[in-house]
């Protein structure tokens, strides 16, 4: 039995809105082992951010958790292992003991997660003084070390500056420094590079990777960008309309995808060798979860939909020990349907690339 740090079971969440109830999360399971990286991939509205907000106890007030548990195992300061079900704890307790402390989060836009009226230094030491209970002088020393660690040149000077004086990439580095300042067990990155320029994106991802290795932190990425996933993830969860539709390790998802939705996602992003006239795409747009879904939520957009998809939600079919997909195509009674030709060729081509 390996060391699971996060174990989300059967999470089911409804939002009450003026338009009616939105069944945003419909039975989600996510595992994360210590030190590993999991990516949750999905379109906007698929519920990927909601899952992580639930884990941090920062869910919006109009949400009702219908069922599920989020088991989080973290190291106490003395090194002993603690286990809590975050959903059973009070929000206040989670905010004081888990958020920013054991689970840290990096958001998409660094400008909105930094306080424009506070210096970089003060924002860094604030959490440390509160959570670690160290003196201001010690916090300052560590803050400067942290700034150096995340690759900020001239940390003494930056310490006294305000967020608007830094570039986008620099700000995201500061956010990372704040995130790791209290020795978290788990780091959640919500689209950490979308707001950054391409040339900086890779550097930020590399930085997160290095820090993860050095501190033994587990990381969850929430993203719609498969380039990011390919670069960083060990395991991938593909999410659609509030459910995980395919899960597997990164090689399985990229080189042997089973779910038609994953096929669509993969082929929608041209790699540099794509020269087909058209990209294979998923038609239509994601369903509105105001209406209860009958059968498979993906069926109306699925070019390979079976009759069964309209009747009943497919269970998770096992492909390998680590690879599961929720599509009736994997049922033994289903017709043999292969992934689209273009994608097949592309995967062949990708496999040729030396690793």
């Amino acid at each position: 039995m390996a060391d699971k740090i996060l174990d989300i079971r059967n999470l089911d969440i409804t939002f009450k809105t003026t338009a009616g109830n939105v069944h945003a999360i419909r039975g989600v399971n996510v595992d994360l082992e210590r030190g590993e990286t999991v990516a949750i991939v999905g379109e906007s509205g698929s519920g990927k951010s909601v899952v992580m907000k639930t884990a941090m106890g920062i869910l919006a007030g109009n949400a009702t958790i219908n069922s599920g548990e989020i088991i989080f195992r973290y190291k106490e300061d003395d090194g002993s292992l603690q286990e809590v079900d975050i959903l059973k704890k009070e929000k206040k307790w989670v905010r004081q003991n888990i958020n920013g402390r054991k689970i840290a989060m990096i958001f998409q836009d660094p400008m909105t997660s930094l306080d424009p009226t506070m210096t970089i230094g003060n924002q860094l030491i604030e959490g440390m003084i509160m959570h670690l209970g160290i003196s201001k002088e010690d916090a300052r020393k560590r803050a400067i070390e942290l700034l150096e660690e995340v690759g900020i040149t001239d940390p003494e000077k930056r310490y006294k500056q305000y967020p608007h004086q830094l570039s986008g990439g620099m700000r995201q580095r500061v956010v990372i420094a704040i995130a790791i300042s209290c020795y978290p067990d788990l780091l959640i990155c919500d689209e950490p590079t979308t707001a950054l320029d391409v040339t900086i994106q890779a550097k930020i991802l590399d930085l997160i990777k290095t820090i993860q290795k050095e501190h033994g932190i587990s990381v969850i990425y929430i993203t719609h960008d498969l380039g990011v996933v390919a670069k960083v993830a060990d395991y991938v969860n593909v999410m659609y309309a509030g459910r995980i539709v395919e899960v597997g390790n990164v090689e399985e998802i990229f080189y042997d995808p089973k779910h038609p939705y994953t096929w669509g996602l993969l082929s929608a992003m041209p790699d540099l060798d794509t020269d087909d006239d058209r990209l294979y795409t998923i038609p239509g747009s994601p369903p509105n979860l105001l209406h209860e879904v009958v059968g498979d939520a993906f069926a109306p957009r699925n070019q390979y939909a079976l009759k069964a998809d309209w009747k009943e939600q497919p269970p998770m079919f096992k492909v390998t020990d680590t690879h599961f997909a929720a599509t009736w195509l994997l049922d033994e009674r289903a017709p043999k349907i292969e992934m689209p030709q273009e994608l097949k060729k592309r995967i062949e081509r990708m496999k040729q690339t030396k690793g």
Binding site: N62, N288, K307, D309, K311, W328, R333, I337
Partner: protein
């Protein structure tokens, strides 16, 4: 899930949605429907709305419910009559409980819900008649304010630069002149009365609205949908009044709701200091003034108009608050 599957062997054939390429999705809820639902849920705002409606209905029908005109001096007999001066509120069935003097007993069979004033006029009639005038003044000024204030603010904000500079300096100058001075100047060449009040309000009230409209314009004119209209060749007039104006509706309605009580209060104030309504007409303000003169001896005279004024101001503020929240809800991001 241990449910028994209903899927049978026959279900494993391709059954692809026929209309795969046309996207029929859309969220069903309309904007105003959402506003309505949110507003209804707000208890305070609903209370405010009910109060406004009740006062409104009473202002329209209240005077008709009594048998007296607003300037009718009530008396018994002919010639040298007994005038119903300063009667306390009375309902015939109950009056024996409070009845005090023989003089009051002369009117034992009459209904005076709010009593009468010192000249012998029915206060019930006068209060609702006064409320009518006050509401009328408020709505007329707000309507004209909206026209002037909004056009002024939208134009100033849209063209910006030098024009905006000149227009805003003008606003600052007009804003710095005390309202009483304006009223005083007006009163020297205008007869006192409803129109004086309306003109006085017009000269000052539009400034708030123009500021709101200008701020909205500054916010909206950089939006991409305005650029889109420009790239399609839309003229300035079209952009200001067809593209931007409908988008300012939320803050504008809210501002209107907050300026109505200001207008009512200003009218009351002007009437109270004696430059407003001329007798025998009355408004909430002039009634309060009358009542104030006798406050130590006949306190019941001042209560009805003051309560109506307070309720109106409170109710409009409630509704304004409710509308503001309903029109711009906190975004519950998903």
């Amino acid at each position: 899930m241990p449910e028994i599957s209903t899927v049978t062997n026959e279900d494993f054939v391709l059954d692809v949605s026929k209309d795969l390429t046309t996207d029929k999705n859309f969220a069903s809820q309309g904007f105003w429907k959402g506003v309505l639902t949110r507003f209804r849920k707000n208890k305070r705002a609903m209370t405010g709305l009910v109060i406004i409606l009740v006062i409104f209905v009473l202002a329209v029908f209240g005077p008709m419910l009594s048998n007296y005109g607003y300037k009718e001096i009530i008396s018994i007999g002919s010639g040298q009559d007994v005038v119903a001066k300063s009667l306390s509120p009375r309902i015939p069935a109950l009056h024996n409980l409070f009845s005090s003097s023989a003089y009051q007993d002369a009117f034992a069979d009459r209904v005076f819900l709010f009593g009468t004033d010192s000249l012998g006029r029915d206060l019930w009639t006068r209060v609702w008649y006064g409320a009518r005038i006050s509401l009328l003044i408020a709505f007329v000024t707000i309507l004209i304010d909206m026209l002037i204030g909004m056009s002024y603010g939208l134009i100033s904000g849209y063209f910006g630069q030098a024009l905006d500079g000149v227009m805003q300096r003008f606003v600052e100058i007009s804003n710095s002149i005390p309202r009483l001075v304006i009223v005083g100047v007006l009163a020297t060449f205008m007869p006192k009365g409803v129109w004086l009040v309306i003109v006085a309000l017009l000269l000052t009230e539009w400034i708030g609205m123009s500021k709101i409209a200008r701020a909205e314009m500054l916010k909206i004119k950089g939006q991409e949908y305005i650029m889109a209209s420009k790239t399609l060749g839309a003229k300035n007039f079209r952009i200001i009044f067809s593209d931007v104006l409908p988008n300012t509706i939320g803050p504008v309605i809210t501002q209107v709701m907050f300026s109505i009580p200001t207008a009512i209060f200003t009218e009351a104030f002007l009437s109270f200091v004696g430059v407003g309504i001329v007798l025998p007409q009355c408004s909430i303000g002039s009634l309060i003034e009358d009542g104030f003169n006798n406050i130590t001896t006949l306190p019941y005279q001042i209560l009805p108009p003051i309560i109506v004024l307070a309720l109106l101001m409170l109710a409009f503020n409630f509704v304004g608050d409710g509308l503001r929240e309903a029109l711009a809800p906190r975004i519950e991001d998903m």
